[in-house]
């Protein structure tokens, strides 16, 4: 089994997607995406519902493998290596590419166990107490929960739960964190805290965030990819990448008219 090579400083791209297409059964969900995700930056995916941005996101840690009918065409490289190569192990890849979901989904276990689980199954040899503290501090949650680590993760508020999920993700030292609409179930104050946290995490991790909130994309991200969907002959919808550039370009002088219309709120 091929090992995924360590972080290399030569390439500036964490991920490169070439002609990436995703099918569900015989339906083409996303077609021909070319993307380059630079290291230690925040990239946001925006676009109307059904445009395939979450689908593309889930290709980067092969979560689509878990959907029996899903099929991925094209190529995604992670530090220069094809992650859909048969010799690459998805379980190993997912330790290196963490994920935070739309709805906070802590395990129905103690706060401590929520953090320790990922480390334990991945054979962490260090001091677990220290790791739990460091991860919770990294997710700006330590001060709020340090006296109740034995309490259930579900006893926290929604915003705290989402930060617990971020702490859980960074506990296994990933290189990339994928965030699938991480703030859509949170109130504005919790959202702001998560956004501040993202700016800190950027120092150590590459972040890809899917968001429906265009202010969030323009506030937080360095690069923005705009996806759109068009009707297919079979009556379904097919997503495609319209434009990908630095965030200020996408929001101020996009090359495509549909991007202009979307970011100015005229559709979507």
């Amino acid at each position: 089994m091929a090992q995924i090579s360590g972080t290399t400083t030569l390439t500036q791209a964490a991920f490169q997607a070439e002609k990436l297409s995703v099918y569900y059964g015989s339906t083409l969900a996303v077609k021909d995406v070319f993307l380059e995700i630079p290291q230690n930056l925040i990239v946001s995916f925006i676009g109307p519902s059904g445009c395939g941005k979450s689908t593309v996101l889930r290709c980067f840690n092969r979560m689509n493998d878990l959907i029996p009918s899903a099929r991925v065409d094209g190529r995604i490289t992670f530090n220069g290596q094809d992650i859909y190569d048969k010799r690459i192990d998805a379980v190993e890849l997912r330790r290196r590419v963490g994920m935070v979901f739309q709805r906070p989904n802590p395990f129905p276990k103690s706060i401590y166990q929520n953090i320790a689980f990922g480390a334990r199954i991945n054979g962490y040899q260090g001091d677990m107490d220290e790791l739990v503290e460091r991860s919770l501090k990294g997710a700006a949650l330590w001060d709020e929960v340090k006296d109740k680590l034995k309490e259930s993760g579900l006893s926290l508020s929604g915003g705290q739960q989402q930060r617990l999920c971020i702490a859980r993700a960074i506990a296994i030292e990933p290189e990339v964190i994928l965030m699938d609409e991480p703030c859509s179930a949170l109130d504005p104050i919790s959202t702001l805290r998560v956004e501040e946290l993202m700016q800190e995490l950027k120092q150590k991790y590459t972040i890809i965030i899917v968001t429906h909130n265009m202010q969030q994309a323009s506030r937080t991200s360095d690069y923005t990819a705009f996806f759109n969907a068009k009707a297919t002959d079979q009556g379904g919808k097919m997503g495609y990448l319209v434009e990908y550039d630095r965030t200020e370009v996408i929001f101020q002088q996009p090359a495509q008219q549909s991007t202009q219309e979307y970011v100015s709120g005229r559709f979507g």
Partner: protein
């Protein structure tokens, strides 16, 4: 019975509406009193159904207690069967039931839960799994005597050298067959109630399928799985027909000393006593029913205690 709903009173103030609203509002005929009457009729019906069920159960328990309490004493529990009613006891049947239920619990839990996990978490959706699913649902409805005949053919005749013929092991395995479909179905239901977010969270942290199931899905589903086990074991403990079909004896003067030992069980002993002409034996049957119900209650209490412990650790 208490219905807290407010009901309209005669002369109560009517909500007025401004402008041209009354004209369009006239198209609505709220008929509040009629709807409240329906409310009350349904509440009465629901209350009556509950009361009837409780009353019948109470009457049943009461008559059994009246008949059986007189002969229920330590001698009854500590004596073997006898042709003379005053010396007959339930020791062999009680021990037999405990042995058989032990076999049932030990075999049915891993087999049933394992099959449920396979079908729900591992198997792909193809013609084979669909065939298995249809079969399991149908097996849940097969009469218990059929399972008895299956046990007779499979465990007494075919596997006789291994099971020891009409033995504790044969009786237990036959009852396992009987309740497996129910355990499998209820396990799958319990697994389905675990949110997919938990699975996704586990996989996203680099867990393998088994690590996700063992660490997160099973603990979360365990209360539901144990509920299915309680119901299934309660059914198994009272089953008479399959045990009669495999030929469990009703007159046994020793307690089982192993899995290969012949045995009798509480429902068989009760059935035997009820069938005799003398009134004394009918009273013994009532005492036997009290013992059976007590074992059943203790078993359920244990399982409910386990279930609550799993719920608290969440």
């Amino acid at each position: 019975m208490n219905i807290n709903e407010p009901s309209p009173r005669d002369g109560a103030p009517v909500l007025t509406e401004p402008g041209d609203r009354p004209q369009r509002a006239a198209l609505f005929q709220p008929n509040l009193s009629g709807r409240y009457t329906l409310d009350r009729i349904f509440a009465c019906f629901a209350w009556g159904a509950t009361a009837l069920a409780v009353a019948i159960l109470a009457w049943l328990l009461l008559t059994i207690l009246i008949d059986g309490i007189g002969t229920l004493n330590w001698n009854f529990i500590d004596s073997f069967a006898s042709r003379r009613a005053e010396r007959a006891g339930i020791k062999a049947a009680l021990a037999g039931t405990l042995w058989v239920m032990g076999v049932v619990a030990v075999f049915s839990f891993p087999l049933g839960v394992g099959a449920g996990i396979f079908l729900e978490e591992f198997s792909e959706d193809n013609w084979f799994t669909r065939l298995v699913e249809i079969n399991i649902s149908n097996l849940a409805g097969v009469p218990s005597i059929i399972y008895g005949l299956l046990g007779l053919a499979a465990f007494v005749r075919l596997l006789g050298p291994i099971t020891g013929g009409r033995s504790v092991l044969t009786g237990g395995l036959t009852l396992v067959l009987l309740i497996l479909p129910v355990i499998i179905v209820s396990t799958r239901e319990a697994l389905r109630t675990v949110p997919d977010g938990i699975r996704a969270a586990g996989f996203a942290l680099g867990a393998t399928r088994w690590q996700v199931i063992w660490n997160h899905i099973l603990p979360a589903a365990m209360p539901g799985i144990l509920t299915g086990m309680i119901l299934s074991l309660s059914r198994a403990i009272g089953e008479t027909a399959p045990l009669l079909a495999i030929g469990a004896a009703s007159f046994i003067a020793f307690t089982p000393d192993g899995l290969g030992s012949s045995f009798t069980a509480l429902p068989i002993q009760i059935y035997d006593w009820v069938g005799r002409p003398q009134k004394e034996f009918h009273d013994l049957a009532a005492s036997g029913i009290i013992v059976l119900m007590t074992v059943l209650l203790l078993m359920n209490a244990g399982a409910i205690y386990l279930r609550n412990r799993f719920q608290q650790t969440r």
